[in-house]
Amino acid sequence: MLQTAQRTAKSKKKKDAPAPLAETAADKTAPPHERFLEAFRWMLLARTLEEKLVSLYRGGQITGGVYIGKGQEAVSVACGLFLEKGDIFAPLIRDQAGRSAFGEPLVDVTRTYLGSRLGPMRGRDGNIHRGHPRDNELAMISHLGAMVSVTVGTLMAKRFRGEKDFVGLTCIGEGGMQTGAFHEGMNIAAVEQVPLVVVATNNHYAYSTPNAREFACDDLRERAIGYGFEGYSVDGTDLTACLNVIGGAVKRARAGRPPQLVVASVLRLSGHGEHDDASYVSDEMKQQPFARDCLKFAEQTIIESNLVDRDTLVDWRKNAVMQVDEAVAAAQKEAVPEADKEDWCALSTRDLVDHVDEE
């Protein structure tokens, strides 16, 4: 069951990225530059999609908030790229690139943002609050930190069942690291010695709150040792570094090393949500090295080291736009939910539903 579901996801994924590259997604021994190129394409796709979502939002076609991962695509794609069939992925707010790389169909995103009844959340939940638990992509709740222990539990279950060589990866922001739930989740992961990778992105703000009011240690990586995790830092604007460090963490977790914490440093290159102009971010901040745009830098690398020619880059961009337009068009055609077509049951066991008042 899980496997079929997973297969569907993977094949959907083929549809997103052209076959040759998609194949290498499965082939984890792909030469570095092929991995780099595939990662770049997922980043490009995520950026293209999120720019589209923003314009839809500005055009009043999306209800509720839009939360994008601009500037965090390199970290995020590395989170999704090294996961294999049977692995668990618990993405968070800014993980469009990782979700796609993991196999989330693009149309799920547009369906969820546009409230299509065919989407994974069927209009019941929106924006980034989506997932495919049956395909091992967990659906986050808003309460930050809560998904860490949930991911631990999925890995405990796999061990109970005697599965091997699996890992789980979950993402968090530096703000979310200050929640009690995060602490309990990290600690229990280490106590249970599950193959977990936690990727924390310090984008220097929790909504409008700067690091100085979030925590007081010099480097959040230093928390790893206190949990019994292995800890690493990475420049989140450098795709090569992200692939190496996060890829390495996934490999170590899979090999039975202790749980892994990777702390990436970036700047959030958008508002907290699209409703937020982020005017609280100083120009000085924007001059910092961690403010570099990871997508631009990756493209620059491709050009400078001639990994592909400019025409190919243009094709890729076209292809991304095409896929995004398709996904939007498809979702826009679809029916939205209607109250009288809902059964309004919060329980799967229908005969245990409580009836407060006879209607």
Binding site: T63, G64, G65, G115, M121, G123, R124, D125, G126, N127, H129, I141, S142, H143, L144, G175, G176, Q178, T179, G180, A181, A206, Y207, S208, T209, R213, E214, F215, S279, Y280, V336, P337, E338, A339, D340, E342, W344, C345, A346, V353, D354, V356, D357
Partner: protein, 322 residues
Amino acid sequence: MSITYLEAIREAQAKLLRDDDRVFIYGQDVGGAFGGAFKATKGLAKEFPERVLNTPISEDAIVGAAIGAAMQGMRPIVEMQFADFSSIALNQILNNAGTHYWRTGMPVPITVRLPSGGTKGSGPFHSQSMESLYAHYPGLIVMTPATVEDAYTMLIEAVAIDDPVVYCEHKYLYYHLKADKLPDKGLPTGRARIAREGRDLTIVSYSAMTQESLAAAEELAREGLEVEVVDLRTVKPLDTDTVLASVARTGRLLCVGESFPWGGTNAEVIARVSNQGFHLLDAAPQRLNAKDTPIPYHPNLWSAHRPNAKNIVAKARALLRE
């Protein structure tokens, strides 16, 4: 000049900070130039940089720190970014703030602001009404202002009260509700308000549902049906006398609340009226709640999930026919 429900909350906090240096505001993003996810503290940090403080994402510690500060004579106002996230602070609110006076004889005067209730597209985790969880436990006062004037005077009252107050402000009313000016004082805390007089039916409601109920009453008035609307203002303490007096006039009771159906304010009001005003009732008491599912994201579902003027009217008509 016209002032919104949200501005009233900001004005109340500005006044509190100016008049009383024991007051400070503590919460996520309340400080700096930002002034909170809903701008309820906009500009206050500029005037009171030491007393309007951003916090980490740590609801339990935010309320814990407020409790400690209150023990030492301060009057903290905690802003939860959304009521929904107060689930993380619930232990400190119920088991620490709520028990401290009874256990030690020393009350902890904290005010916890909960931006509550549903708005379009907010979904399961940014829409909740949690007053019933807090009212169920001892030791807390739970306010649910339904008007701009009450939003202002009740918040000032909340900080003045020596006991812990959970102040549920409704996000839907933030911009929708306007008044010409702010009063110096309102009704005493714990006193319900007759929001509209009528002799055919009593609707008991609070917070945003008072506005929906008034709209429903308008519509029913066109049919010659006179509905009395009681605005509870605080769900704990709950002003049973005012409710009973109204039911004595009308003989019919409909309770309207936005929280989940099982238990909660509607059930409590009906239980009290059935118990203390049984003989006053000419028909079975009725209630309208949100549905018993998480709060939906899509507007089509959300507008059907919460009670609204339309289904209040329908329910009231049916009840008046009995």
